[in-house]
């Protein structure tokens, strides 16, 4: 059962515009959410996270928004750059459990120069 879902397998955006990647989850016990970025032949790299006590977290060009009532989070990248082209994974964790991460299936972002 997929507890974390990324329904868009791919997204193409022009350089300089905003990229919005979406993620939905089903487990109401999840209280910590992360985004990872993955280049080919490399392991995922931690990008940004958010705790369930917040609804927004910013780090430079990257902002994550959390809507707990909708069990939805999104990653905004502004402005998008060609180097942002990668696969982005959403992940979630229940801190009362074993601290394991449950990953979505990923969204491949292509930023067109």
């Amino acid at each position: 059962d997929q507890q974390v879902k990324q329904n868009s397998p791919s997204l193409s955006v022009q350089e300089g515009r905003i990229s919005i990647l979406n993620c939905d989850y089903t487990n109401s016990m999840f209280d910590y959410f992360l985004w990872y970025k993955k280049y080919p032949a490399e392991g995922p790299t931690f990008l940004i996270s958010i705790s369930s006590i917040k609804d927004k977290n910013e780090d430079g060009r990257f902002t994550v928004f959390l809507n707990k009532s909708a069990k939805h989070l999104s990653l905004h990248i502004v402005p998008s750059q060609p180097g942002d082209s990668a696969v982005y994974f959403c992940a979630a964790s229940d801190s009362t459990g074993a601290n394991n991460l449950f990953f979505g299936t990923g969204t491949r972002l292509t930023v067109i120069p």
């Binding site: 995922p44 790299t45 994974f89 601290n99 394991n100 991460l101």
Partner: protein
């Protein structure tokens, strides 16, 4: 700081053969994870170690998969015998402790079972 090291990078074996993967976590990281990533899917946890003890192996197919973390540092993951559906990238990750969420992944081992 050196990253998480994994070897080999690639492995091709025939079904029913055995294979082993090695992981060296970041120095000082107490928690070590093995994830399986099948093509087109997100990583799925196989096993989590805290130092040299197993915290969670509920998703590990124990009839064919085994893992150990001797002395709380390096870890090996073994598959015996391998099946076609084991073809995947096997990712090792480590973190300082169980409450550090942004853990660091290695580059993975791509296994192809033919």
């Amino acid at each position: 700081e050196a990253g998480v090291a994994q070897s080999p990078r690639y492995k091709i074996i025939e079904k029913r053969q055995s294979v082993a993967f090695w992981c060296n976590p970041i120095s000082g990281h107490a928690t070590l994870y093995w994830y399986q990533q099948i093509l087109g899917q997100g990583p799925k946890l196989l096993i989590q170690f805290q130092n040299n003890g197993v915290v969670d192996d509920s998703q590990l197919p124990k009839d064919r998969f085994s893992a150990e973390r001797l002395k709380g540092v390096d870890s090996t993951l073994k598959i015996q015998p391998a099946k076609l559906e084991d073809s995947a990238v096997y990712l090792c990750a480590s973190s300082l402790d169980r409450v550090s969420y942004g853990y660091t992944f290695g580059s993975g081992t791509r296994l192809t079972v033919v």
